[in-house]
Structure formats: C-alpha cells, structure tokens
C-alpha cells in the first residue's frame, strides 16, 4: 500500500517518460484553459468586486452563438465578428440591468445575481440555439486540427494536438494584450483606478458604469476565446458550464485580483489534477479529478489563507 502511494507512481514516471511528458502536456493544456476561465473572473472581480458566477455560461454562450450563427449560413469570420458584437451587447445589458441597480449590495447578493444571470443565459441560449451540443467550427476559423507526434526513438512518443498549441499561443497573446491594455491605455488606467478605490475613482471623474461595461465586454472576449478552444477539444454544450467551478480553486491559488496569479493557479491545478489522476487516482478507483482541485486549494488555504499572491491580511477592530 505504502509502495503504491509513495514509490510506484514515480517508478512509472521513470519507466514511461513519454507517457509522463504526455501527461504533463495534457495538464498544461487543461491548465491553460482553466487559466483562461479564471482570467474572465479576475477581470470582473478586479473592477467591480463581483464574483461573476456567469463566466462559465458566458463561455458556452459565446461558443454557441458563434457556432449557431455559422450553422445558419453566416460565414465563419462574420459570425466571429457578430459574436463579439453579441458579447458587447451582453456586457452592456448586464451592466445596465444587473450591475447598476445592485451597486453597493453585499457580495453574496451580487454573487446570487450572477447565478441568476447564469440561469437566464442557460435558458436563453437553449431557447435560441437549441439544447444539443454542437461541433466547434474549428476549420472554418482557420484553426489547426491535426496533431504532431514527437518520437523518442524506441522510448515512445508524445502526441501534440495543434489546437492545443494554438490554445496556448492564444492564451499568451490574450494575457499580453490585456497587460498592454491595462498598463498603456487611458481606459486601462481608469480601470486600475476603479479596482483600487471606487469612491476615489468616481471623484476624479471616471464613469464606473462605462468601466463595468468594458470589463464585462473584456470578460466576454476572454469567454469567447475559451469557448472556441474548449469547444474545439470537445463540443460546445451546456455541460461545459461545470468547468467554470474549477475556476474557483484556481482563483484561490492565484488570488482573485491577479492576472499572473490566474495563469499560475490554472497551471498548478491543471498539472496537479492530471498527475494526481493518472498516477494516484487508480488507487481509489479513479475519477478523483472531480474534486482534487478543490482539495489542493483547500490544503493551500489552510496554510496560506490569503492565496499564493495575496498579501497577509491583518484584522483590525
């Protein structure tokens, strides 16, 4: 028993290095996608202090809109543009209908409102596009679909899916673009001001409503990218929504307001989950992926309640 827990997995890693590399790669790709979802959360949390539960459904919704438009004869790139437009409308609508009237409410109320939004978007998405999973229009969008096998002589091979590589590249570009946006543009600076202090930002003439609409739109774009990538790996369907829960442990590790934190947290969870599942999961019957991320986050929390990048909290009275 002890051997199975402490020695055998490492022996396996050594014996089948190609397989271990493959596991790491899968963990990396999963981590990238978790990080992308977490990124959407971070954007909104930073600017408005709202934990946007609807980020998961926004991923599905963006993907569905894209595929649904294409199914109805809209060319892929036009559909992409229209989807971006739809995310803009959604952002404006959310700001107008949900965020603005609920300003200054306690966190839990805002959280509940985004859960309400989730329900609404599930119903709306299914109503418009139907409830069945759809194929992502990977080829139409010019994304690669093939795979490359890297061989290690007789020691086996590692298979890299091109779409996964593309996902990694897009994630990097996305983070870079957001970084530039935050640091170099006027809106980005305003956004950081809002993140620091709502009142102070208001007092220097920054429109909170505008900022919120912009972050929701940015989160919508991140959701679209996530939806395309995840959709290309499996399907675009409402079952994807469950993946959004994984963002929570990612955020715990990375901190709710840190973009690099989201990336690092996502990767830790991605690697941890895959390695845990493949080398230790078998000991307890498999499927531990469904909760391992939360337990990792939990153990982490017990030792560092403020997260990986958070500052130590000093309680005051």
């Amino acid at each position: 028993m002890l051997y199975d827990i402490f020695i055998d997995p490492f022996v396996q890693m050594y014996d089948m290095p190609d397989f271990f590399l493959q596991v790491l790669w899968e963990g990396f790709v999963a981590g990238i996608l978790y990080a992308l979802i977490a990124l959407g959360f971070v954007l909104i949390f930073k600017a408005s202090g709202v934990f946007n539960f609807a980020q998961g459904i926004m991923v599905v919704f963006a993907g569905l809109t894209l595929v649904g438009l294409n199914e109805n004869g809209v060319p892929a790139y036009l559909a992409l543009a229209l989807t971006i437009g739809a995310m803009g409308i959604l952002a404006y609508g959310v700001e107008r209908v949900v965020m603005r009237p609920l300003v200054n409410q306690p966190d839990i109320i805002l959280l509940m409102a985004t859960i309400g939004l989730t329900y609404f978007l599930i119903g709306f998405g299914e109503f418009v596009f139907g409830g069945e999973p759809k194929q992502m229009i990977t080829e139409e969008l010019g994304l690669p679909t093939g795979s490359t096998a890297i061989e290690f002589g007789d020691r086996g091979l590692v298979i890299l899916q091109h779409i996964d590589i593309a996902a990694a590249v897009i994630a990097v570009l996305m983070v870079a673009a957001l970084g530039i946006f935050f640091n170099k543009t006027r809106i980005g600076r305003a956004l950081r001001a809002v993140a620091d202090d709502h009142q102070a930002a208001l007092s220097v003439g920054i429109s909170l409503n505008q900022i919120w609409a912009i972050v929701w739109f940015a989160a919508g774009l991140v959701a679209l990218a996530t939806g395309i990538m995840w959709g290309a790996r499996s399907d675009v369907s409402f079952a994807l929504e469950i993946v959004a829960f994984k963002a929570l442990p990612v955020l715990i590790l990375g901190g709710f307001t840190s973009i690099p934190g989201a990336i690092v947290g996502g990767l830790i969870i991605g690697f941890g989950e895959k390695i845990g599942e493949l080398y230790w999961g078998g000991l307890v019957g498999g499927g531990i992926e469904s909760w391992l991320a939360y337990i990792i986050a939990l153990i982490f929390l017990l030792f560092r309640p403020q997260g990986l990048f958070g500052e130590r909290i000093i309680e005051r009275v």
Binding site: E26, G131, I159, R233, F238, E289
Partner: protein
C-alpha cells in the same frame, strides 16, 4: 425575533401559491389513448435525446395523421421534458399518470429505476427499450417492466462474442485486454457484472474507465489511462455528450478505431461524425434499421415532417437514433394494437397495455405490413422473458454514414439468462416484500 413570527404567515403564502397548483391536473380525454413521452431536448444528453424524441413523436403522430390513430382511436401525445434528470422524470411521471397514461418510456436508466417499483402500484407498464434494469427481463418478477428487444447484458455478451469472432474464436480472448469506458451512472454500470463474468469465463482482462457525468466533455485523463494500459479492444457505454468526446479522444491518442465498439446508444450519426476522418472504422451495436429507405419513414416524412407537424429536420430521418425512436414507437403502437385485440376495447388502460406488450409479436410479416421490413429483427415478448434476447448487428462508420458490418449476432443467452434470474431474485429480496406476480399471462 421578527423572523420567527414570519414563520406562520410565510407558510401561508407558500401554501396559497401551492394550492393554485391544484388546477394543473387536466381531465383525461374520453376517446383517445394517452401516451406521455418523457423526453429530453435540453441538457448534456440532448444531443442523443433530441433524435430519440423526434423519432418517437413522429411515428405516433404519423399513425394519427395517416390512419387516424390505432384501431380508429387517436393517440393523444404529450412530451414532458426530463433533461435526463431523475427528479424531473419522476415529476413528469406524477404529473401525467393521472391522465390515463398507457406506458412510460423514461429513456434514462436512472428514471427507469425509479419507476419500476411504481409501475406495479399504479398499474402502468414501463417500456425501457434496450436500456434500464437488465434483470427486468424476468417477467415473473417484473410483470410491469419491458426491455425488449435486449438487455444490456445481452448487448455486452454480443460485443464479447463479436470480439471473439474477430480474434478467431472466443478461446483466443485469453490474455487479451478489453477496456470498458462507460458513463459512471446506473446506465454505464449496468453491464459490468456480466462483463466480469465473461472475463472470468474467457480469461480476458477487463479494464474499467468510468467517466463521471461532470467529466463527459473532458475525458483526457481516461484516454491517457487507455493509452498507458494499451487494451486490445475498447468497449463503450456512452450517451449524450460523452460519445463524441470519447470518439475524438480515441482519435487523438490514435487508438485503432476498428477495435473500438460502442453500445447501441453510442451509435449516433453525430457521435461518430465528431471524430472526423479519424473516426472511420468505429463500430457500434444496433438493433434498429440503418438509413431512411423504409416505406414507413417515407410516410413520416410525407404526413408529419413535410406537413410541419414536427420539429424534426428532414435530413435526420434515418439516423440511427431517430430510427431507434421510431422502433420504440412501433413497439408502443403494436402493444396498443395487441391490447385492443385482446380486450376488444378501443380505449385501453395501462393494465390492458401491459397485456398487449406481453403478447407482443412483431414478426417479419407484421414488419412488412408496417412498411418496416428489415427495420428490426422480428421480436417477441413472452410472459417469462420481457427482453427476448434478440439478435443485434454491428455497424461501422465509414466516415460519412453507418454501414452494417455484420450479420445478426445472437446474445449468449446461456450465460445471460441465469444471471438475469439471479439478479431479479436479488432485487426482489432487497426490496422485500416485493409483490409476487398475480397478473395473468395473456399468451
């Protein structure tokens, strides 16, 4: 403590709202046979559920349009959305059973399990066509449940038999590794006892890869495990979004597709298409017709789909799952017809329906009459055997459509039947006091 004082009037509001719910029970129509259809066109299983729902609905609707129903009495159809959720399924059941429901088709093993004990009490049979509780085939224990034409155990035995054929005989299975990837729910777990039994008997190693409902779309770990374990064959019991994802993943790890065999529920056209070119060679069991080249399907197109009476996309007629839905409705319709003949009544009850299903005899001649010659293997239900263990065939995906890839293969009845009986006895014992069969046998 203000909150406590609210308890009273809070409940009042609740009860008030609740009471208005009384109005929701509708009266039963006098001169029609009421068939509720528990379907799911939403949720993670919708991809499969929609085609089934369309097929079931369209065939019965066609009978209404073309023949004015069955035996001159129209069918009253009502769909109730379950979302593959057992709780909602029960809710649908409770809401519709009072309207004179003749039979229930839960299309979910979970819902089926919940309805099995209720069936005998409410006197409404459950028709779980090729799914649900395998042991329910034992008619002496489960008079109210029908799983014609086959149980999952029959199916599992056919897969093993087919693999044996590929390997040149069941004896050659010794030392082989067969992987079993399944939806980790009642449905996917159902065949395991039989597979274990066969593994012992033929000496192959059974490796299990459960896929949780939540992980259906994220199976990379399961398939990495497959890659590590290198099984010689893979068998799949998948449904809904699990199927296309699994096929994609199998393509990804370059698993030889001709050694990958799905149950009849993993045989959807969309499922296989998701794998692209790489999915060529994927196999699945089937017991309902392939393609749309049947007069009855032409009638559906003419009377129902083209007439705008259905939400079916004309292109999907003839798809595996659509045809499966049609077959399900054929059994319902034939059950009603048989019941009408047996009782001499036009408007029948659930109890009559039970007799009708038990006396079901869908032979070649009758299939031809229905315009469905070759659509299914002739099937017959007896009081003792509610499944019948009918033969099934293997179909293969050629990259754009399914092709029949084998003849009709008989299940290993000799292995399956004793297990079914033992399981039925065990069920009755676990659920003691399970009522002894009192229903007379119509045959």
């Amino acid at each position: 403590m203000k909150s406590i004082t609210q308890l009273a009037l809070g409940t009042a509001v609740a009860v008030g709202v609740a009471f208005s719910g009384l109005a929701t029970t509708a009266a039963q129509a006098e001169d029609s046979n009421y068939v509720p259809l528990l379907t799911y066109r939403t949720g993670p299983f919708a991809a499969s559920g929609i085609h089934i729902a369309n097929g079931m609905h369209d065939y019965l609707k066609m009978l209404n349009e073309r023949d004015g129903g069955i035996g001159g009495v129209k069918l009253e159809l009502e769909e109730c959305e379950t979302g593959y959720n057992a709780q909602k399924g029960v809710e649908c059941y409770e809401a519709t059973k009072g309207k004179g429901a003749l039979v229930y088709n839960p299309y979910s093993t979970g819902i089926t399990l919940q309805l099995i004990p209720k069936a005998g009490v409410d006197k409404i049979p459950v028709l779980s066509m090729g799914y649900g509780l395998s042991a329910a085939a034992v008619g002496s224990v489960f008079p109210w449940v029908f799983n014609v034409p086959d149980t999952y155990w029959d199916g599992a035995s056919v897969v093993i038999k087919y693999i044996g054929e590929q390997e040149g005989g069941l004896d050659n299975l010794k030392g082989k590794k067969i992987g079993y990837i399944f939806l980790d729910a009642g449905y996917g777990r159902e065949p395991i006892p039989l597979l274990e039994q066969l593994s012992e008997k033929y000496g192959f190693e059974l490796m299990q890869y459960p896929v949780g409902v939540k992980e259906m779309q994220n199976q990379s770990s399961q398939w990495l495990n497959v890659r590590r374990d290198r099984p010689d064959y893979m068998v799949m019991w998948g449904w809904g979004a699990m199927n296309p994802t699994a096929i994609k993943e199998a393509v990804k790890i370059r698993f030889p597709m001709d050694k990958f065999i799905g149950v009849w529920w993993s045989a959807g056209d969309d499922d296989a298409a998701a794998g692209g070119d790489g999915a060529k060679g994927y196999k699945a069991m089937n017991f309902s017709g392939v393609g749309s080249d049947f007069p009855a399907l032409d009638d559906i197109k003419k009377h129902v789909v083209d007439a705008g009476l259905s939400s079916t996309d004309a292109e999907t007629i003839g798809g595996t799952l659509y045809n499966r839905g049609v077959l399900n409705s054929v059994i319902i319709a034939e059950g009603i017809r048989t019941a009408q003949e047996l009782t001499g009544k036009k408007v029948i009850t659930g109890e009559d329906m039970r007799m009708g299903l038990e006396a079901l005899n869908l032979d070649e001649a009758r299939l031809k009459e229905l315009g469905l010659s070759g659509f299914a293997h002739p099937m017959k239900v007896t009081c003792d055997d509610h499944a019948g263990s009918h033969p099934v065939f293997i179909q293969e995906w050629d990259g754009s459509q399914w092709r029949q890839a084998s003849g009709w293969i008989e299940p290993m009845t000799d292995v399956v039947r004793p297990l079914l009986e033992a399981a039925a006895a065990e069920y009755a014992e676990k659920n003691a006091p399970w009522p002894a069969r009192t229903e007379p046998c119509p045959n």
